[in-house]
């Protein structure tokens, strides 16, 4: 066997320069073949024969060489990867150790990150869930909402059944149309009667939305007819809540509105249409006779566009259809079809405010990043000696950058994870505070797209925050560091300017947010002060939905309602009891055109809101009578129709005259004589003027769904039990629902405004906090750097107030520059608030001034502490320190 001698040293070291794997493999195999050939030669073969024999004995040198090369390359790659991972691991561990050595810095940085990232993530999850996420239906972008468009200024209206049937038959652009109407259902026979939200829908509902039940089946068209319609599909939530997720529910019979109904299906858990609390769906049966009246029925309609059909084409086609119908039917003369994508229709109104809020929280995040950058820069300065020494010992620039990055990565990781936790907690806490009418609020969750957004945000923050400090760390060259070592480190002028610029930026953005928040606050206060036209104090409201199956005739309903009113009036603590079919500010609308006796219904006819009320309604809500009287018991079912109008309508139609005795009617009703005039009520919203109102007597215009309004002597909520008991006495199967004080109803109507104001206020406050910390940090640091200078000045005779003044002057300069930039920024950006405000203009001087003053006070307070420290410097101590 060959003895082995070690390689000469130069050979060994040269291999550190380059490992050439292919060359080594070739060399090893070449050696083998050479030795092999030599042996054959020794036995007498020619060189060429020996060579061939060697290769034959070897096998296939080329193939083996290939195998070896691949193997060795793979090993090398694996080794390099392991090395890199180990280095990264080392760096990270060193970074974490470095962070733990400076707990204040680390805590401040992590908290700032958590707040900024958490807030942004939470806000984005709201924006995504409500506005961006596609509807949970098959191919939702092809779904459209249809409505009746009146060419008089009435705007949008509900869809009548006759029109819906014709639109469905005559259109060329929709796969199908579904008709929907909400309804109330009492579930009885299972303990406490409960009122449920139901939707009556055509069988096409399920195919248009492309949804299928989890259990059982949807309706068929055959079930849209009387006699076959007693089937129901339950919502998943109801199935779990009331029926314990019973797997044999399909086929079971339940009592809805006292009618035995068969359960034929259960929907999947995330299907909640048309409202988020819908409990069940039943077949929609169009009442006989309704189809003959072109404008009868109040439905909503959704449709699915055929593949490849655009919205514009659909518009054109429906224009054709409505023109044809207008030719055929007189009543369709001024009726068109409006349509819009379903998602737009649902969330269009809240897009702008939500994006504004997202922008605000983004601004807050930027302010936090500025703080973080300043923290890192300040820390960088404090470690300059360490960095100078390291550089002198041979650490390369890239190694220094590597090290500072390896400290930032754990920081960002902790901050990001904490931020996600904050966001999860915030979203959970926020959900009950959301305005009740926020569409798709149930879609808000920390979902995968939201996590993706967070990742992007963390990456952006990482880039923003690390660029300057990392480059800065690497730039501290040896010579500068050593020179400063001997003189006592002071911060370079350029670095100080960057920090100042960051603080000025923070102040500017904070001012912008403060101005916005102040404007929304003033706007909210203004809206709250608007008088709704009635007195909501001490009034309890409760809804009653009277089932047609139990009270089939109008007379039955009226009698029952009268019994309820009479009974409640006798309860102790009750001042007055009234009834209305839709509460003011409750969110429902009933509009129509008004025809005056002696004129024709035309484009100029006033648009009014109608309500059916009881006589004492006005007394219960303290709506004042300007003229005439309220309904009396003589204004009963058989008697001549009467109406009460509001002062606004009276002033518009008969200015200066008395409207009493004149006659009016709404679209297709009987003529009514005006017997009284009451004050105007803001039905649709405190901020809206509202259309003028006409009130009918409930005894003459029956409504099976009514809201009781009970004026109480004391706390209205205290009477909830006795009211419920009284009604149960009259009919044990009659549930009441949506019991709220009227004050709560009014507040609820302000829900969106309050929500926007609160969120923007929170963002502005957090930004104020962050900016004040930033200001404090920069001023305190500056004072720290100039301690000797202050010491010298005091030694030379400067007094305390002088020194404090100097520091405050510096702070004041920063504030002034920041405020100037902030005012310009605010002037430009408050335009986006224009749709959100009431009673103030976006360029509201008082808000600008107030916000600036608040910011000034906080900034000066942040400067005061370091200022006092500067003034208290002991000159002898300061002069001695090097």
């Amino acid at each position: 066997m060959d003895g082995k001698r070690p390689e000469p040293a130069w050979r060994r070291y040269s291999r550190f320069l380059r490992t050439d794997i292919a060359r080594d493999v070739d060399e090893e195999l070449a050696f083998h073949l050479e030795m092999s050939a030599r042996d054959f030669e020794a036995r007498g073969m020619t060189r060429a024969d020996a060579r061939r024999a060697a290769e034959k004995r070897f096998g296939d040198p080329g193939r083996v060489a290939g195998w070896l090369r691949r193997h060795d390359h793979a090993q090398e790659r694996a080794r390099r990867a392991r090395e890199t991972m180990s280095t990264i691991g080392q760096n990270l561990r060193a970074g974490v150790r470095g962070l733990l050595r400076q707990p204040t810095f680390t805590a401040a940085a992590v908290l700032t990150l958590a707040l900024g990232i958490g807030g942004t993530t939470a806000m984005f999850s709201v924006v995504y869930g409500v506005v961006l996420r596609p509807l949970p239906f098959g191919e939702p972008e092809r779904l459209v909402r249809l409505w009746t468009a009146w060419q008089t200024s009435l705007g949008r209206g509900a869809v009548s059944s006759a029109n819906a049937v014709d639109w469905r038959a005559q259109n060329r652009v929709f796969e199908d149309i579904a008709l929907i109407r909400n309804g109330n259902y009492s579930l009885t026979g299972l303990g406490e009667p409960e009122r449920l939200n139901g939707a009556r829908v055509w069988a096409s509902f399920f195919s248009v939305l492309r949804v299928s039940p989890q259990l059982g089946r949807p309706f068929t068209e055959a079930e849209e007819h009387t006699g076959r319609e007693n089937v129901v599909v339950l919502s998943h939530a109801l199935w779990v809540r009331r029926f314990g997720a019973d797997p044999s529910i399909v086929g079971r019979t339940i009592r809805l509105n006292s009618v035995p109904t068969t359960v034929i299906g259960v929907m999947k858990p995330d299907f909640r249409y048309p409202t988020k609390d819908v409990d069940l769906w039943v077949p929609l049966v169009i009442p006989p006779g309704e189809l003959e009246l072109r404008t009868a029925g109040s439905y909503s309609a959704v449709a699915r566009l055929k593949p490849g059909v655009t919205l514009a084409q659909a518009h054109d086609d429906m224009r054709r259809v409505s023109a044809d119908l207008a030719q055929t039917y007189r009543d369709n003369a001024r009726i068109g079809v409006g349509l819009a994508p379903l998602l737009d229709d649902m969330v269009g109104g809240v897009r702008r405010p939500l994006y504004v809020l997202l922008g605000a929280v983004g601004a807050m995040l930027l302010i936090g990043c500025a703080n973080l950058t300043n923290l890192l820069l300040a820390r960088g300065v404090g470690r300059r000696r360490e960095l100078a020494v390291r550089t002198a010992l041979g650490a390369s620039r890239s190694r220094l950058i590597e090290q500072s990055i390896s400290e930032l990565v754990p920081l960002l990781a902790f901050g990001g994870v904490l931020g996600l936790l904050v966001a999860t907690w915030v979203v959970r806490a926020l959900i009950p505070l959301l305005p009740a009418d926020l569409p798709r609020a149930e879609s808000i969750a920390i979902s995968l797209p939201v996590l993706g957004f967070t990742t992007v945000v963390v990456a952006l923050v990482a880039i923003l925050v690390t660029i300057w400090p990392a480059v800065d760390a690497a730039k501290s060259s040896v010579s500068v560091g050593l020179v400063e070592l001997s003189r006592g480190a002071t911060s370079g002028p350029r670095r100080a300017r960057v920090r100042d610029a960051l603080v000025i930026g923070q102040i500017a953005v904070t001012l912008m947010l403060l101005v916005g928040a102040t404007i929304l606050m003033r706007s909210f206060v203004a809206v709250r002060q608007v008088s709704p036209g009635f007195n909501p104090e001490n009034v309890l409201s409760a809804h009653v939905a009277i089932p047609e199956s139990k009270y089939p005739l109008d007379a039955d309903v009226i009698a029952f309602q009268t019994r309820i009113l009479d009974r409640l009036q006798t309860l102790p603590g009750v001042v007055a009891v009234g009834m209305v079919n839709r509460l003011p500010l409750g969110g429902g609308n009933q509009t129509g055109g008004l025809q005056i006796d002696g004129t024709k219904l035309s484009a100029e006819s006033p648009t009014i809101q109608t309500r059916s009320v009881s006589a004492d309604y006005f007394r219960a809500l303290e709506i004042p009578f300007k003229e005439g009287r309220s309904f009396a018991s003589s204004d009963g079912p058989g008697a001549p129709d009467v109406a009460i109008i509001d002062a606004e309508l009276a002033g518009r139609l008969w200015p200066g005259l008395s409207p009493i005795g004149r006659r009016v009617r709404a679209s297709d009703g009987p003529w009514s004589t005006i017997i009284g005039v009451v004050g105007h009520v803001r039905h649709s919203g405190l901020a809206d003027e509202s259309d003028p109102q006409v009130y009918w007597n409930y005894a003459q215009r029956v409504q099976d769904r009514m809201a009781l309004v009970v004026k109480t002597r004391g706390e209205p909520a205290a009477l909830t039990q006795s009211i419920a008991a009284a009604i149960r006495e009259l009919d044990p199967e009659q549930p009441i629902y949506d019991v709220r004080t009227l004050a709560a109803v009014v507040d609820r109507s302000l829900g969106q405004r309050w929500f926007q104001m609160m969120l923007l206020g929170v963002f502005a406050t957090i930004s104020l906090l962050l900016a004040s910390i930033g200001t404090y940090g920069v001023i305190a640091f500056g004072v720290g750097q100039r301690l000797r200078e202050f010491g010298v000045r005091i030694a030379l005779g400067a007094r305390r107030p002088d020194v404090i003044g100097m520091v405050l002057k510096r702070g004041g300069m920063l504030f002034a520059l920041g405020a100037a930039a902030g005012l310009i920024l605010a002037l430009v950006t408050v335009r986006v608030l224009s749709t959100l405000v009431y009673g103030v203009t976006p360029r509201d001087t008082a808000s600008f001034v107030a916000a600036t003053l608040v910011l000034f006070a906080v900034s000066m307070a942040a400067c005061y502490v370091p200022a006092r420290r500067a003034a208290r410097v002991d000159p002898s101590v300061a002069l001695r320190s090097e």
Binding site: M1, D2, K4, E7, R11, F58, D60, V64, D72
Partner: protein, 114 residues
């Protein structure tokens, strides 16, 4: 030599190579000749198949490799047993011999083969 030549079973090549290194460091060519000589040329082993086997043994930590200079000043890669390799050789050799011994016993028992 003539006579039958057998292809080496999978997995036993590694064992053979380990045994070859029991006496000290060898380069690939020396291992090939040692195997040829020790089995009296009965086992047919292509020289080339040694090298993948050597790499695999290296991957498993049973042998290590190092470049060195041969007698005639040529650069060659030398292989050496590790302690783990030695232990592995001992245990696997014992198992193989026990297995082979049992099979031999069966094949030699009555009724004997013609």
């Amino acid at each position: 030599m003539g006579g039958d030549r057998f292809d080496l079973l999978q997995g036993t090549l590694g064992l053979v190579v380990l045994k070859s290194l029991l006496g000290g460091e060898l380069h690939g060519y020396a291992i090939a000749r040692w195997v040829q000589a020790t089995t009296s040329d009965v086992l047919e082993v292509e020289d080339g198949s040694l090298y993948p086997a050597l790499r695999r043994l290296e991957d498993r930590g049973l042998i290590t490799a190092q470049w060195g200079l041969s007698e005639n000043n040529r650069r060659a890669r030398y292989y050496e047993l590790t302690p783990a390799g030695r232990r592995y050789l001992e245990s696997e050799a014992a198992r193989w011999l026990a297995y082979a011994g049992a099979v031999t016993q069966v094949l030699r028992a009555a009724p004997s083969l013609a």
